[in-house]
């Protein structure tokens, strides 16, 4: 939890680390938009190739990216299934009769129960889930003794399959791109970069500098507040509050006994902090110099030009094909 300031940052020295956070953010945007412009499986695979190339040159291990993809696995699976089930155009690739009988129903429940109880001991949980799901499907398709409870057909069409594949690749590209950004940029630099990019918003009276200041203070205080929460929980535990069990009503009381002191501490803190900032001559909205400044190098220009090239190519293939 305390890593929140460092975030996912992975120390390194490749060109991705030498780039200005501004150019990285802009490049990310351009590439993302380009990805959304593409509408064809072949093109999106080329895009995936480009992204893999960036990873290769940038020296980012694929394993780290895979870890970044983990949280969206369920989403990927869901969209994949959804596409396959509901798109019924193109050539029929595969169809199977799925029958649920008085024998297979309890068997199915048993398999699910087995999966549920054993999954914590399996290292590759997602793979295990897939295998279990696949196992159930195969069983339903092949094994049909006893009286039939219900049956349906599973049809997989060409468009469904390619659509599912397309969306999956697109999602993977988007997540990979943003993971590259967070892996190679410290949150403080990211914050500074965002601040500079959002600067033009001052026309509509949005003060990017203040927003950035708020974010950096939040970054600075999250670990402190977590520490505090920990201390309070220990203090309450030593007075007999049990945070691990209890009925819903007890749980609510426990959370309140944590939140109330947290709020009071945070208010006191923010008051003191505002004082300390003002005492050090901080005036919101006033010009200040900066310890960390950003500098735009040729590398940044090159990367942006490359991204624009990809963007134009994306538009061209979209219009031409």
């Amino acid at each position: 939890m305390k890593n929140i300031i460092i975030g996912q940052y992975l120390p390194g020295t490749s060109f991705l680390y030498k780039m200005d956070p501004r150019s990285k953010i802009i490049a990310l945007m351009i590439l993302m938009i380009s990805t959304f412009i593409l509408k064809d499986v072949t093109h999106i695979l080329i895009m995936l190739g480009v992204v893999l190339l960036i990873l290769k040159i940038g020296g980012i291990p694929i394993a780290r990216i895979a870890r970044g993809l983990k949280p969206i696995m369920i989403l990927l699976l869901f969209t994949f299934t959804f596409q396959i089930i509901f798109i019924k155009t193109g050539t029929l690739i595969f169809d199977a009769e799925l029958t649920l009988t008085v024998f297979t129903l309890p068997l199915m429940i048993f398999i699910i129960l087995f999966w549920y109880l054993t999954r914590r001991y399996i290292k590759f949980k997602f793979l295990y889930l897939l295998i279990t799901a696949f196992g159930i499907l195969t069983m339903l398709a092949l094994y049909t003794p006893g009286s039939v409870l219900s049956s349906s057909t599973l049809e997989v069409y060409g468009d469904g399959l390619s659509g599912a594949f397309f969306i999956m690749v697109r999602l993977i590209i988007i997540v990979t791109l943003s993971t590259i950004l967070t892996l190679t940029t410290k949150p403080t630099d990211l914050n500074l970069g965002l601040e500079k990019i959002l600067k033009p918003l001052s026309i509509i009276r949005i003060n990017a500098e203040e927003i950035a200041m708020i974010i950096s203070i939040a970054l600075r205080y999250i670990p402190t507040l977590l520490d505090e929460a920990n201390k309070i929980m220990l203090a309450q535990a030593s007075r007999g509050v049990d945070f691990t069990e209890g009925k819903l009503k007890d749980k609510v009381m426990q959370i309140i006994s944590l939140l109330v002191p947290m709020f009071i501490i945070s208010f006191k803190r923010s008051d003191d902090l505002a004082n300390a900032m003002e005492a050090r001559s901080f005036v919101p909205g006033k010009r200040r110099t900066r310890l960390h400044t950003l500098s735009w190098h040729n590398l940044d220009t090159t990367v942006i030009v490359f991204c624009i090239f990809i963007f134009i190519s994306a538009i061209t293939v979209r219009v031409m094909f």
């Binding site: 003002e278 901080f282 960390h292």
Partner: protein, 268 residues
């Protein structure tokens, strides 16, 4: 010349008890003054009033000849640096170097200057190895050192230390105290707030607060000889001072002195 002049200052938080009542005092330019007082005597409140973080109910504060009010407050703050009591709640930066830089950034120092000063002052408070560290990875005393460095780097004319060395080990405290002496010699007006008489005796002058009132104000030597005031101030007296007072009263027979020494060491 008086760099700080306070006349008839009164202040109370929401409640009816006055945190400060009718405080009048002055600090000369280039001087080192200690403000001494028991817990809750109003020391921190006074320092917050001086830089305009709190608004006085009545009375007047003049800094460098300028009366403190809403217009002058920002200019006055540029002249005064203050190290607050709680090091955790004044750490603004994400890292040590960011925090030391914060005040200088606000005063619009040049970037190269900021970088040099971070190095210089981190060195002064022995925090050079921690420049990239985040505050939650620091001890209380280390955070206090960072706060001190951040204020020193701003190069203000006046610096107020509000129990700024309370969490430092004896050696650290001594080195900071020596450094305070040094910058004071170089012309910076220093106000140290403390309830520790050992620290106060280092300064030129002592002001004693009790329950929001100034009960004594004078040269350090004079204050130390003022037995009645010190006894009534609820402060822990220094051992040599206690000894001196007791010896003054006693007939100086050897047995008596031994007796007194024993009593003192047992009390301690």
């Amino acid at each position: 010349m008086n760099i700080i002049e306070i006349k008839d200052l009164s202040f109370s938080y929401q409640d009816e008890i006055d945190a400060l009542s009718n405080v009048t005092l002055s600090v000369k330019k280039g001087e080192w003054v200690s403000i001494l007082g028991h817990n809750g005597s109003g020391k921190s409140t006074l320092s917050k009033l001086i830089i305009g973080l709190l608004k006085a109910d009545s009375g007047e504060i003049k800094v460098d000849g300028v009366i403190l009010n809403e217009e002058s407050v920002h200019d006055i703050r540029r002249k005064i640096g203050i190290v607050f009591q709680n090091p955790d709640n004044q750490f603004v930066g994400v890292t040590v170097e960011d925090d030391i830089a914060f005040g200088m950034e606000n005063l619009c120092f040049e970037q190269s200057d900021i970088i040099d000063k971070i190095k210089e002052y981190a060195e002064k408070v022995s925090m050079s190895e921690y420049l990239k560290k985040e505050p939650h990875a620091l001890s209380g005393g280390q955070k206090q050192r960072v706060a001190i460095a951040g204020i020193l780097a701003m190069k203000t004319d006046i610096i107020i230390f509000d129990e700024a060395t309370s969490m430092l080990d004896p050696k650290g405290r001594e080195s900071i105290m020596n450094y305070i002496k040094e910058i004071n010699k170089a012309g910076v007006t220093v106000i140290t707030i403390t309830h520790d008489m050992k620290e106060a005796v280092l300064s030129d002058r002592i002001i004693i607060l009790k329950e929001g009132r100034v009960i004594a104000c004078g040269d350090t030597n004079d204050i130390l000889n003022d037995k009645e005031t010190l006894n009534s101030s609820n402060l822990e007296l220094l051992l040599p001072l206690k000894l001196q007072y007791l010896l003054d009263e006693a007939n100086l027979s050897n047995d008596k002195v031994k007796d007194i020494l024993w009593q003192l060491s047992l009390n301690k």
